[in-house]
């Protein structure tokens, strides 16, 4: 077993290792489906390192992400069909440069948190994007299975299958996915009546990681504030760093666990106070329950129900036979 450190890589470490083998084994998508945690990727966002890229207009992670995804959204139809009866249209095509919030054209943004630690003012920068949750409702109850959790942990929306109903945004505790109206398969079906575009969000640079490359934000960060690696390695590293800075971790338990671990010297309760929850700007409440967990016991009953039905049929049949023979005597 390699040591945790070897398996979690950021920009510099990545530059050192040869692109092929090591990258493919730690970052690449396994060829064969496997439940082993070795194939699951996690990312670490170290808030003690992120400085918000003060010398740049747009933070490096944000601009790298924008560049990689710039051609993702096809030409938006003009005019965008008016949905009926609620007329909501979400169109970011004329504001593609916006980078202070999540939009269909912007999958990561950096929140600036002015906090006070022991009475001292302190600024913390918090890159925000999809957490790639372990059991993400956004994916599991997508009515078209357009949003799917992959074996490597990445939660990916297939823009060719998405109808843009925004159910994923409604069930995401951080309302991460963002809608662009006027694109996607709904245009070919009943645009006025069902669907309303396509949902977009971070996909952990799925194609790049499969090809053994780093996600754009991880690769671009000059301070190695973001790392990616096997789940185990990232978890160990997050624990170690949190301990060292006497700080805390975010993303380990929230929404039932995620593949994104923030470590911060400043408690997340403090950081959250600086975050007014707005569209495209998620907060960081520490108490985030996975609501679907409550449905699991009933779901188990559903899985048991065929057997229960068959058992009842058998019992009723036997009883009936007995009665019949008894009646004959």
């Amino acid at each position: 077993m390699k040591k945790a450190k070897d398996l979690a890589i950021g920009r510099r470490a990545f530059l050192k290792i040869t692109a092929g083998a090591a990258a493919a084994s730690t970052v690449g998508l396994p060829q064969k489906a496997s439940a082993e945690t070795d194939h699951q990727l996690s990312t670490l966002i170290d808030l003690s390192l992120c400085d918000g890229c003060p010398d740049k207009k747009v933070p490096s992670c944000v601009s790298a992400c924008k560049e990689i995804n710039q051609d993702r959204i096809p030409q938006v139809t003009d005019p965008i069909p008016e949905p009926w009866p609620r007329k909501t249209i979400e169109d970011w095509s004329k504001k593609q440069d916006a980078f202070h919030r999540l939009t269909p054209y912007n999958f990561i943004y950096v929140h600036k948190a002015e906090v006070s630690v022991d009475g001292q003012p302190k600024t913390v920068f918090v890159p925000r994007r999809c957490m790639h949750c372990d059991n993400p409702a956004c994916a599991t109850i997508c009515p078209f299975s357009a949003n799917h959790k992959n074996k490597n942990g990445a939660v990916v929306i297939d823009q060719d299958l998405c109808f843009g109903g925004a159910k994923c945004r409604d069930v995401c505790p951080w309302e991460i996915p963002q809608r662009q109206s006027g694109v996607g398969i709904y245009l070919k079906v009943l645009p006025g009546l069902m669907g309303n575009g396509v949902m977009y969000k971070c996909d952990l640079c799925f194609e790049r990681t499969v090809a053994g490359q780093l996600p754009g934000c991880v690769e671009a960060c000059p301070r190695e504030a973001m790392l990616i690696g096997t789940r185990k390695a990232i978890e160990q590293m997050a624990e170690a760093r949190a301990k060292r800075m006497n700080g805390s971790i975010y993303g380990k338990t929230q929404n039932g666990g995620t593949a994104t671990l923030y470590v911060s010297p400043v408690p997340f309760e403090e950081i959250n106070k600086t975050m007014a929850r707005k569209p495209g700007q998620p907060d960081m409440k520490t108490d985030v329950k996975r609501r679907m967990k409550g449905t699991d016991p009933l779901a188990r009953a559903v899985l048991a129900s065929p057997a229960l039905g068959i058992a009842a049929a058998g019992a009723a049949w036997v009883l009936n036979r007995k009665n019949r023979t008894a009646g004959e005597e």
């Binding site: 609620r86 159910k167 559903v302 039905g309 049929a313 009936n320 009646g327």
Partner: protein, 274 residues
């Protein structure tokens, strides 16, 4: 001993209590599934369903999921019970028979005043076809629904291909279920079928109606007049030979006094007074 033909009340028992229970368990849970399934789609806000008094929860997908699951337990359990219970008993009155398709056309034409209805069994030919169709749709819903349920608890990262199949089968079968339900309701609206409606609530239909319309069913319970009466002891009805040999012992129907030529018959189709 169950009496099937209640001459003095002009009624005949069409469904046992157990069968009524099966029907209503599936029907009511199916309606809940249909409604909460629709609410699993992002329609609550868009179509202002949340503004309908009492439906404020329609845009809360997790609440709908609780209800969808609860109804799915009843629905799946009842469907499996139905298949295995009646399967074990060898009952097949609802299974499609040869010629049902063309006979359905004749019956449906007659419903609109064209031509005569042929003599019919307990179930009409189109009822048997509809049963098979509905059974298929329900099977698709259950199998795909189980896959989706399993995914939600244990395997959010299961094979995307399998999941896409399950999802689309579920969605298409949902539309078919809805259409089949509408067709079911439409059939009830047709006047000639009205006498069967009380049957699904009380288990009994009018005897004169059954004699007139479900001639072959009644013939299975009341031996045909021309059959040589007393001769063979314990004789089985030869006529409807395909029929349902399992149930003989239970139903010794009393000879009907006002029709002396009719013999007691011991072969009802699928009903056992449960």
């Amino acid at each position: 001993m169950t009496r099937k033909i209640l001459t003095e009340k002009n009624l005949v028992v069409r469904h046992s209590a157990l069968e009524l229970l099966e029907h209503w368990a599936i029907a009511l849970s199916g309606l809940v599934l249909l409604l909460t399934g629709i609410f699993e789609l992002p329609v609550g806000k868009r179509y202002y369903i949340i503004n309908v008094p009492g439906l404020g929860w329609s845009a809360d997908f997790i609440t709908s999921l609780y209800l969808h699951y609860a109804a799915a337990v009843v629905f799946t359990g009842a469907a499996m019970f139905h298949v295995f219970y009646h399967g074990l008993r060898g009952e097949q009155g609802l299974m499609p028979r040869k010629g049902d398709a063309s006979e359905s056309v004749t019956v449906i034409k007659s419903l609109f005043g064209f031509g005569e209805e042929p003599p019919m069994h307990k179930y009409l030919p189109e009822q048997r076809l509809a049963y098979a169709g509905m059974a298929f749709i329900i099977l698709m819903l259950i199998v795909s629904g189980l896959v989706k349920t399993y995914k939600n608890i244990y395997a959010p990262d299961m094979s995307h291909a399998v999941l896409l199949w399950a999802t689309w089968i579920h969605n298409i079968a949902f539309i078919l279920f809805f259409l089949a339900f509408l067709a079911h309701m439409a059939a009830i609206l047709l006047k000639p079928n009205w006498p069967m409606v009380r049957g699904i609530f009380t288990g009994r239909v009018r005897l004169d109606y059954a004699r007139h319309r479900h001639t072959l069913w009644l013939a299975e319970m009341e031996p045909a007049p021309k059959q040589p009466a007393p001769a063979v002891e314990g004789a089985l009805p030869v006529k409807e030979a395909e029929a349902f040999a399992d149930d003989t012992e239970e139903d010794d129907l009393p000879p009907e006094l006002e029709k002396p030529e009719e013999m007691p018959k011991d072969k009802p189709e699928i009903d056992k007074g449960a």
